[in-house]
Amino acid sequence: MFSKRYSIFITVLFCAFLGVFALAQVILPDRTFSENENRNLQQMPTLELGTPELPGRPGTGNFFSGKFMSDFETYLTDQFPLRDGWITLKAATELALGKRENNGVYFGSEDTLFAKFTISNPTLAQENLTHVNTLADNLDVPVYFSLIPGKEVVWADRLPANAPNDDGMAFIQQAQESTSSAIWFDTASPLLSHSDEYVFYRTDHHWTSLGAYYGYAALMEAMGMEPVPLEEYDRTTVSDSFLGTTYSSSGAGWITPDSMDTYVPDEGISVITYPEGAPVEGSLYDYSKLEVKDKYSMFLGGNTPLAVISTQQTDAPKVLVIRDSYSDSLAPFLTAHFSEIHLFDTRYNRMPISSYVEANGIDMVVVLFSTSNFVAEQSIFQIAMGA
């Protein structure tokens, strides 16, 4: 079928392709961490032969259980030469083939990436709504509650046509209707009416500081306070190279990065965080995080079970925010109105809310979550627990 010379050519071509990458795998140094995926990469496993599992006796080692083999396969793919380049090539191919999504991320217009929104556990979502009311029933101080709409709601016009998502707005309306003891405040309407502005990061699921400002203004209105007008802030662009988690999932290496702004100066504000239980001096903005991949953690230095922000308005009330990471960028705006802002993360903090409120003289409580976190969060039940 082929001539001999041509066959040699084809054979060499194939063997060279396999050989080059096989050799490169051996020669290139192993990486320990992937910035893009934000995880430790698998290292070369060591073989421990051990014994197989037999009835009545568990096996030992990593050979008979197959763990050595699966670790080795993960090792090869994790350390594959030019890994990030292959992933971008695949994402680009999908797009070229007419796909409007890759790895669960929609490619929207204007370089906007959307994580798919699904309510995978409707029962949990309903129960979480009940817990908020129970919390309000248990406390003597007012409880304000809102769910932040997702990017796919606010920027729906940028989504690919007909892109399947569960209806986040319908759930927010349901949340509003079921809110009886707590006081609902509406973050969706202001975000929707400013949807032509830069209210979400294009490459991340979080809202921008501007988006957070509109959320803050809605909260102030509900509390009967006057929000600081947007014009009175000096906007500072602190980064123009933010590539968020949605970007990481998408593999879309060609997307232009987001820029990050701050509005509120951090002078005269002290922050104490409790990352491991013991108090640690923190700050409103941790600029060192702008050097790493996870740049959003610049706000308050990232996840912590509890953060307490103290301002110079010592006469002002104290607020407790039960929250997800969206409140990290909202908190700076609150410093103008409160003496203390307590940020409470139910995932890492098991303290009963009612005793915390009492012990710290909290005047009002805010429950603020993004819709996608709220419908899936397993730890919210704790807020309904009595002291």
């Binding site: 096989a22 795998q25 083939l97 690919p160 007909n162």
Partner: protein, 469 residues
Amino acid sequence: MVFSSPLFLFCYLPVVLILYYISPLKLRNFVLLVVNLIFYGWGEPLYIVLMVFTITLDYFAGLVVEHYKRKGNDLGARWAVAVALVLNLAILFFFKYWDLVASTLQHVGINMPALGLSLPIGISFYTFQTMTYPVDVYRGDAGVQKNLVSFSTFVTLFPQLIAGPIIKYKELADQMDQRDHTVERFASGVSVFVVGLAKKVLLANNLGQLWEVYLDTPVAQLTTAGAWLGVVAFSLQLYFDFSGYSDMAVGLGRMLGFEFLRNFDYPYISRSVTEFWRRWHISLGSWFREYVYIPLGGNRVSKGRLCFNLMVVWGLTGLWHGASWNFLIWGLYFGILLIAEKLFLKKWIDRWPRLLQHLYTLFLVVVSWAIFAVEDFTQLGGYLRAMFGMAQGGLVDSNAVYYLTSFLPILVIAAVAATPLAVKVWRGGEVRSFRVLRVALPVLLLVGLIFSTAYLVDASYNPFLYFRF
């Protein structure tokens, strides 16, 4: 280990090819045996013991059958064949069907404990390949293999060990002891292998994503358009997955000097169900014809007996595909269709316009894949009702529009690739401009390798969404 993995492509295969070709001819079967066992044991090292048992069983069965035959003891030879068959089938039953029987009996109140054993990889394929060896020795179709290494290498031959084609010993007997290692054969193996790899990685896996969307859609939300879209995607996925794997097997075989028979011959261009089964998984069809259908009397029997024979063959064919009752129904569905075609339908169909013959075949085959793919009977009922206009989600919804537009290019490429059109253009072109094709082939091979690698590396892409919060 699977072919479509970085482990196989960039670690196992290069090492195997180097070891194989630096070894002297006499040692090559032994080298192959060693790498075959590594390939097989990679996922479940313990099941190598089972493999060794099966090999030993059939190797000695062959010797015993030959011994009795030489002595003129036909009864002894028959007994040896029977014992070997029973043991082989017992192993297959124990590992594959025990839990199905147990759970079914539990439904009627008989307490048979389920074992929950993991299925030894490729057991359905290699059992079928080896258990017929003593039969062929008895029938005189195959000579006895006295060399244990050669026999073991045949049973464990990695290119076709875990997903076929089902190769009978007699087809490979000569090649086990002598085969040509030419660069021409190697190069043609490369092109067949890369085509198979691309079929599996670029088409089948992609179409699989679309099918999964509809497999996971609750029946209450299924639309008629969605249900058809899903099952069409599955029909194409299954073809490219399976035939891609067979192509890779044929290609790898050639790289090692073997020549296997083709397993698929563009099944979706068939104009009757009978023709479809001559083109789909050819090695399985021929196995059942040779070792079940013809021994039962074939078609030289009364009409009633013929129907019985066909239903037995197709019931078994169905169950061979998996230990679940939907596979039995799927097999019997084809049994009924083939009986109908044999008795009267085929004569009538042959007078239809060609387009109608194609539509008739595709329709019945696509419906069969729904039965094949949905194991849960309640869900299967809902899925079939949705396909036939009784969808709880209505005729069509925006999701179906989205997935159809999103996957349309892939579906079109796959549909064209399921026909011999590209090969016709290629062969036609060979005459017109040989030079273009000489350049095109290596370019296409490289493109296939590069894009397949990108999809394989991406499959392991696993960002840890730390701040999901």
